[in-house]
Amino acid sequence: MRTRYWVPTLYIVFLLLPIYWLLNMSFKTTNEILGGFSLWPHEFTLENYRVIFTDATWYNGYIASIEYVALNTVLSVAAALPAAYAFSRYRFLGDKHLFFWLLTNRMAPPAVFALPFYQLYSAVGLFDTPFAVALAHTLFNIPLAVWILEGFMSGVPKELDETAYVDGYSFWGFFLRIFIPTIAAGIGVACFFCFMFSWVELLLAKTLTAVDAKPIAALMTKTASTSGYQLGLLAAAGSLTLIPGAVVIYFVRNYIAKGFALGRV
């Protein structure tokens, strides 16, 4: 192996270490964990995972998370598609200012919005539902989706639209049956980033939920504080949250470089 390849190799080892450690913990009993330091489980156990898969409060947490992430992705991308099209193809009153305003929302600290969101979503009766978090996350994800999609759409020449109209397509016929397949990669990239941000964001997800829609991430922090550090359980819960992310990356692995290449993160 060329010498310079040691650099990414060591970096990847560095990245995998804490993940390995988490997995390591998840297969240990709390006794073994607290008993001493060991690099691998001497008493391998699946008990922690069993608890999670059988206890409703735990696995509901995962379901709740996936629910709002999926809702948010669909909502963000669906709303962003026509908007991105407009920005890409048309000039209209206030278009530059609108675009800029959208981007500034990406710069908003979630902490600033925590309390106001709590009040707002309680007021509209959406508190503690997956819709609350899904909607709240659109604040950050829609600007991102619009930005990404606009970039991809601008790469498709207007001649395509015009040809379709000449061929007799209505606007929506053209948009749904011709245009969208053409920018499929862009939609994939946008979905990826929406998923990513919604899945990892915690502050708002915690603030806007109580019991019914509590995401898994919030449940974990609860565990740590109430039952006094059931580390193995915590580790197992954490390990399971790695899976959706890994799956998604695997599916878009061929587009990762391309998506980042637009620089539109």
Binding site: P82, A108, T138, A217
Partner: protein, 287 residues
């Protein structure tokens, strides 16, 4: 693209405008509302003008957390950007290992932020954590719950672990888009590796580096969950950055005025600095 003027395009952007306005305008209005009023008990509000703003801007506590935040962000940028760039430069430009590397590197980016905090919390636990054991083995008296220096070290290490890959991925994408002909010409001209970096790679990476720096700046300025789960803002207030301080303020007090004022100041600081950063880097580019 030759864009046509069409005011009906507003119908296309309407869903987006409504959603974002709902989430942005209404809460911000609420925050502004609170920031200029004083409340005594439920529903009794009095206009207080800029009082809360003055208080925030003069508050030593605010200054302290702002300084901590600036130090943190500076450290982050100083480490992650060069490191990410170096890793991207060292990666193979084609071949079967590329997608394996990219997938593995992207992994930390998709972990829920509290799990990130929890992972490092577990790693840093005395006696049973990998990080603390290694550091003790190397002779360091490491205890992140008591020593501010140790807490800072852990927080920074965690962030580097968490986000450097973003820089790597961006820089790598920029690198692979440089046509081979440039490297060939450099070979023919007899350029050394450093010259290739300085005259070919770095100029062509300007755009992605700008994005990387901007993003890391913004996101590190807003950091909350990971740090809270890892250190809770401590020991004491050693790692209480702006977001953490804001939430503490908002939760701890009866009157939402100060927290609201702080929120606005906070938001404005980010907007201002982002704008500054962006203009500076863009100006550099067109010079």
């Amino acid at each position: 693209m030759n864009k046509t003027v069409n005011q009906r395009a507003w119908w296309f952007v309407l869903p987006v405008v409504l959603l974002v306005a709902f989430n942005a305008v209404i809460p911000l209005m609420t925050v502004v509302n609170y920031s200029v009023q004083e409340s005594f008990g439920s529903n009794m509000f009095f206009w207080s003008g800029v009082r809360w703003f003055e208080e925030v801007l003069r508050s030593e506590r605010f200054h302290a957390s702002l300084l901590r935040q600036l130090a943190f962000t500076a450290a982050i940028l100083a480490i992650e950007v060069p490191l990410g760039l170096a890793i991207a430069l060292a990666m193979p430009r084609r071949g079967p290992w590329v997608s394996v590397c990219l997938v593995l590197m992207a992994l930390p980016l998709l972990i829920p932020w509290n799990v990130v905090g929890a992972m490092w919390n577990i790693m840093a636990l005395p006696t049973i954590g990998l990080l603390s054991e290694v550091l003790h083995g190397l002779g360091f008296d490491y205890n992140y719950t008591r020593e501010p220096a140790a807490a800072w070290f852990t927080v920074i290490l965690m962030d580097v672990w968490h986000w450097t890959s973003l820089v790597v991925l961006l820089c790598y994408a920029g690198l692979v888009s440089i046509p081979d002909a440039y490297y060939q010409a450099a070979k023919i001209d007899g350029a050394r590796a450093w010259a290739v970096f300085r005259y070919i790679q770095l100029p062509k990476l300007r755009y992605v580096l700008t994005i990387a720096i901007l993003l890391r700046f913004m996101d590190s300025f807003m950091i909350y969950t990971e740090v809270v789960v890892l250190t809770g803002g401590g020991p004491g207030t050693a790692t209480t950055f702006l977001s953490i301080d804001l939430v503490k303020t908002a939760l701890g007090q009866f009157d939402l005025g100060p927290a609201a004022a702080m929120s606005l100041v906070y938001f404005l600081i980010i907007l201002l600095m982002s704008w500054l950063f962006y203009t500076l880097m863009m100006r550099n580019q067109s010079r």
